[in-house]
Amino acid sequence: MHLIWENLIPNLVLFWSGNYKGMDEGQPYVLAPNIWQVVGATSTNATKMIPSSFGASIPNPAKDSSYFTSSTWSVWSLFIAPTMLQCCFPNEHYYKHFCSLVRILNLCLQFEISKEAINEIKSGICKWVVDYERCVPPSVSKNSKAGSIHASSLYYQHKSERLPACLLTIHALLHIPDQIRWMGPCWTTWAFPIKRQCGYFQHSIHSQQNPYANMSQHLTDLLQLWQVKILYNLTDEQLGKPPKHPSLQMKRLEDCKLHPSTFTLI
């Protein structure tokens, strides 16, 4: 699930901005540069109106997409992009295709997923991937001329020189419904908590010369402190940690709404 915001959405953005591996020249999915600039600037400005519990502020996707993390990509793609990109594409198929993805993602992010919803996710993702590769949408191909057929071809277009569009990350989407069926909703096994822990250890390194020794020392200290806490039944305050801000403390489960990066209060 993490790969969607780590790979899929950034790649789609590269497609739209015409920077995807140098194969976007004259393609119908590329947004006009001025439109893309406006979309980027408006996205950043919109951050001022979004409550901070949705996460960090959104960078400008047209200018500094390297500042994006997967959680900011998720906020951008789920809440901002569907409105921003409306009427931006030369061809409406791309917008509809993206919106169907957002709809599936919203279903995947539910706290509890029913069997019917899994079936819906499955058929939705299959259709999305087939559409991604498709050359001509069937509804258009019947009554249209050659020109408009070209204009409505999606990303891969069944051309071998466009194969770099079909990465493993696109294929991996097809397995999400099975994983939900076997392991439970996406939040049980996704990589967000693992990545956060990685970042936490990254920041613990202070020695450039012996980073690994530094890291293991930090981990040992941490676990020893933890054992002391359990042995003597101490609270966080007694160990010198600042108490949590009341607004950050989690309330009952029913009050929490699932959000890609964290649990947020409504």
Binding site: E161, L168, A191, K195, F201, M215, L253
Partner: protein, 178 residues
């Protein structure tokens, strides 16, 4: 019930060095607590700078302890003031694509069959210096004939446990060329 996860990260940005962390999640905690920092058990760090050649040797100690926990270890319940057998079972192992390939001894995302869940094969771009393999469902218009012309998205050839083990055994039993 525990979940086991692993992942790689770069200790320094802009460098290729990697380190791998081994994490355990406690699924018995309520969902809003089990992924909080204080409740994640870090079982260890595999130091870099290279990817471990034999990850199993690092995970061996953890596996032994987890096997012990499956049988139950004696623990003290301070509320009831008595000993009880503490059991823990790993129900899931997960991570991103490189991490799971490392745990399962697979070749990873650039191999001929990169997917961990099905046996779909990658195809390359003909007459190109780019040696990467890509994974479209439809190979109808590919110049080189392929075994499967088009994969059905709802009926992918999933990897089955027995078949996967058989493949692994045949790989292990191949004599090495010297």
């Amino acid at each position: 019930m525990l979940g086991f996860a692993t992942d790689s990260f770069a200790p320094f940005k802009k460098q290729k060095y990697t380190a791998w962390i081994l994490l355990l999640f406690n699924y018995n905690l309520p969902p809003d607590q089990c992924f909080q920092k204080d409740n994640i058990l870090c079982a260890g760090i595999i130091p870099g700078p290279k990817k471990p050649w034999d990850a199993d040797s690092f995970i061996y100690l953890l596996t032994q302890e987890l096997l012990e926990l499956t049988d139950g270890v004696s623990a003290y319940d301070s509320l009831l003031r008595s000993l009880f057998a503490l059991h823990a079972y790993v129900i899931a192992g997960f991570g991103d694509i490189p991490a799971v390939s490392m745990l399962m001894h697979m070749k990873g995302h650039n191999s001929l069959c990169p997917c961990q869940m099905c046996e779909i094969q990658g195809i390359g771009i003909p007459d190109s210096r780019n040696r990467m393999l890509y994974m479209p469902l439809s190979r109808r218009d590919h110049p080189k004939p392929t075994d499967v012309v088009e994969y059905h998205p709802e009926r992918l050839p999933l990897r089955l446990h027995d078949f996967f083990i058989a493949q692994a055994k045949s790989v292990v039993s191949v004599p090495t060329e010297i």
